[in-house]
Amino acid sequence: MKQVPQKDAPLKLNDAGTWIREDVSYEVNEPDAYALEEALRQKEKHSGEVVVITAGPARAQQVLREALAKGADRAIHLEDNAFVGLDAANTARAFAAAIKEEKFDLIFTGLQSDDYGYAQTGVVLAELLGWPHATIIMQIEKTDSGIKVKRELEAGYFQFVDMPLPAVLTIQSGINKLRYATLIGIKQAKNKPMRKVPLAEVQSAIGANMQKIERLYIPQKTKKTEHIEGSPVEIAKKMVDKLRNEVRVL
């Protein structure tokens, strides 16, 4: 799971123009919330344990606390400011290193993050672990030989895929309905285990970033906008003229 700036938060650039200033409000990355919810539902159906993991500074612990309050059993926090600046390949390497002693059957991630939007970390992690993966998942069922998942394809198409376990799935927003944490859940969360993984523990697995943000900026408006004015009928006539002679769709 990942903590990202709130959707409607105004973002300010840092002095170097390479990242945003940290003084914004944060929230859980929306697709990751659906990934957690799906994990909780699978646990309720098939029993087992749900472990949540994030990489980020101390503030990112909030995401894990909320997940524990919703029903996750334990948490792993790769805690360091440096994790914010890792590319997708390095983030996945750090996760792979942090969980190498674990015996997971399924790893869920959101399909992409609302900040970087790489849409890569889950698939890279699968490759590093040597596991199969499937992306943009809308449904998961257990089968005798593993799982059957429903992949969302483009343009309204879907596909069922049978796959063995262990596996990595990237989860689409809207796969389920999110639950709220209960008061008792919030209380219990305080006593649930949270393992802190310092940067030093996974450092040897991480290499130099293979891509670099040279400059971050507010996109320029590139279009010239022409206003169409007049009475409704005049506007309609002018629009049809544009549609015929300039847009050429009539």
């Binding site: 790489y118 483009e154 198409y157 169409i228 409704p232 006539k237």
Partner: protein, 331 residues
């Protein structure tokens, strides 16, 4: 020898995905700017005719990457097959459209080769000796120029609508097609995909629509959808909506445009009562022409509109339907 740009076009069920031409347009521009050689590839089983179709464009060579195991699509087979070709041809840059299929296999492919992907790019530029790829960050609120700091091959995917597919240049003569048979060992493919299907009967592929009339919160009530529908019909276009309309169930989810819906690049996008939240804009800003009707002159949709009408859509749409019908009958 100059460096090579390799474009991997996408095919679905024996047809080239239209966004492939957009990637090829981007690649032709990049080739012109860098002086690098441009090659293309299509992967599948029995893709010779598709390779020939691509060979008609301005490219130096087309690879038809063949294996019966590339059909149906799996990430395992595509990563294994493409890795063999890329490793032997050693391109500097590998370009692909940022489709769901590419998203499914390219991070795996790049990782298997120890390389990185700059994904979902909307442009490129040369800055001194450095090649930069522009991508949106924070859901389009910011843009970033990103460089590769590792070794080639560099993998790049381009967002649907970032380039104009109809601007792809034809070649003066057909480019040679080289068939590359790739070996995919037993056991490589772990997933078993079933048939592709459509969920809803009326499921519509808005990505192929040339004209889209789209409604947002400004439509106010479900019964008013009919007005937009009449306009879409008069124009011969498809009806679409922003997320809140589909969440309310006023239109089915398969008509939703935006980050959680479809990404479209029609000739005309007519936005009625859409304010233009970034989640919506990322799905339609690639439209050739955007006309926005909104009563709020400050609505962000006007930032990207070619034509702006500040006014009440309920006043403007009825006469517009009449005028469009008149124009059609006089044709």
């Amino acid at each position: 020898m100059p460096d090579t740009i390799l474009v991997i076009v996408e095919q679905r069920e024996g047809k080239l995905n239209r966004v492939s031409w957009e990637t090829l347009t981007a690649a032709q521009g990049l080739a012109a700017e860098t002086g690098w050689t441009l090659e293309a590839a299509v992967a599948g089983s029995g893709v010779a005719s598709l390779a020939n179709e691509v060979a008609g464009k301005k490219v130096t060579k087309v690879y038809a990457i063949e294996s019966p195991k590339l059909e149906p699509y799996t990430a395992d087979a595509f990563a294994a097959g493409l890795k063999q070709v890329i490793a032997s041809k050693s391109p500097k840059v590998v370009l692909m459209p940022h489709t769901y299929q590419v998203r499914d296999f390219v991070p795996k492919l790049a990782t298997a080769m120890g390389r990185a992907v700059i994904s979902d790019c909307v442009g490129y530029k040369k800055d001194g000796g450095k090649l930069l790829f522009t991508r949106q960050m924070f859901q389009g609120k910011l843009a970033a120029d990103v460089s590769f700091t590792g070794d080639a091959p560099w993998f790049v995917t381009f967002q649907n609508g970032a380039f104009r597919g109809d601007q792809v240049q034809a070649g003066s003569a057909a480019a040679p097609v080289e068939t590359v048979n790739v070996e995919i060992a037993d056991g490589v493919i772990r997933n078993k995909p079933q048939e592709v299907f459509k969920e809803a009967k009326q499921a519509v592929d808005l990505t192929q629509a040339e004209i889209i009339v789209s409604v947002g919160r400004g439509i106010k009530e479900q019964k008013n959808i009919e007005l937009a529908k009449q306009l879409a019909e008069a124009l011969g276009g498809e009806l679409a909506a922003s997320r809140p309309i589909c969440d309310s169930g006023w239109l089915p989810m398969d008509r939703q445009i935006g980050s959680s819906g479809q990404t479209v690049a029609p000739k005309l996008y007519l936005a009625l009562g859409i304010s233009g939240a970034i989640q919506h804009i990322v799905g339609m800003k690639g439209a050739r022409t955007i006309i926005a009707v909104n009563k709020d002159s400050e609505a962000p949709i006007f930032e990207i509109a070619d034509y702006a009408v500040v006014g009440n859509l309920f006043d403007i749409v009825p006469p517009l339907i009449d005028e469009v019908k008149k124009a059609k009958t006089s044709n």
